[in-house]
Amino acid sequence: MIDQPDSRDAPAADSAWFGDRAVPPEAKQGLVRGVFDNVARRYDLMNDLMSAGVHRLWKRSFVEQLRPRPGERFVDVAGGTGDIAFRILERIGAGDRAGGVIVCDLTPAMLAVGRDRAIDRGLLDAIDWVAGDAERLPLADMCMDGYTIAFGLRNVTRIDRALGEARRVLKPGGRFFCLEFSRVALPLLDRAYAAYSDAVLPALGRVVAGDEASYRYLVESIRRFPAQDLLLARIEAAGFRLARYRNLSGGIAAIHSAWRI
């Protein structure tokens, strides 16, 4: 099962991937935070440009599959700018938002952007903003109906710890949903996508966010992230049940979901 064509997901025993660089695990978190401190203000604009707006469709599909219900409580991890939280609340509608959403992100600068957007949308009361680490969530055991992480797991140093924490904070019957860039499954698309990633994305980062290096990191981190089946196996290994995934746009991204039983 754990048989990957290349060993991208396995840096030397004592190091972690920061893009294409192997770094000590304790260094990765600070480096990742540096990236998001740098890009926070332009992050949403960059996502629109980078994916030609497609990330909006992926996120819509993600929240549709999550099926949030009134009264349920969600934590959106690495959800700094509030994109997923807003969609969850909009889908629940104006009714019972008593459960609400906690947005937990490593980078206070990203949370500040999200909170300002929440004020603009009149959603401030339904969302709590907490700076926290996916590997060490500051939340009690079994307090959440749903855990979401969209374009965040890739930036976590120790994925398995983050998955363990996700399971811990979910109530029995709670669900885990991960949206992440994945491995393109179509032969021609994968080459076109690779060329686009190498040439276009860092250039966009330079022009729009004034920060080519941070966007180069994003491209490289996408390549390092485990492919669909491998991530599925790790979700199961963390103790989740009924794990499955669905490709989006030919596997450029994928939605993994599972239950805590």
């Binding site: 907490v130 700076a131 926290g132 680490d133 060490r136 500051p138 939340l139 009690a140 055991d141």
Partner: protein, 66 residues
């Protein structure tokens, strides 16, 4: 964004725990901190936002330990 100091949502306080020990936190409203006695750390609250990162927490002094 200057001197705004909103209170933390009481519903959030009910489920927040120390990220290190998963033990309870004590809310110090005056200092705007969430104190984990087990970990010996005080987590700051900035503009109503709990910063639950051990690297940004203040180690408790001897006189603050229980």
């Amino acid at each position: 964004m200057t001197d705004r100091n909103p209170d933390v949502d009481p519903k959030l306080l009910e489920i927040l725990v120390c990220p290190v020990t998963k033990g309870p936190l004590v809310y110090d409203r005056e200092k705007q901190e969430l104190v984990s006695h087990q970990a010996g750390l005080a987590f700051p609250i900035r503009e109503g936002m709990p910063i639950m990162l051990p690297d940004e927490a203040r180690p408790l002094g001897d006189d603050e330990q229980r």
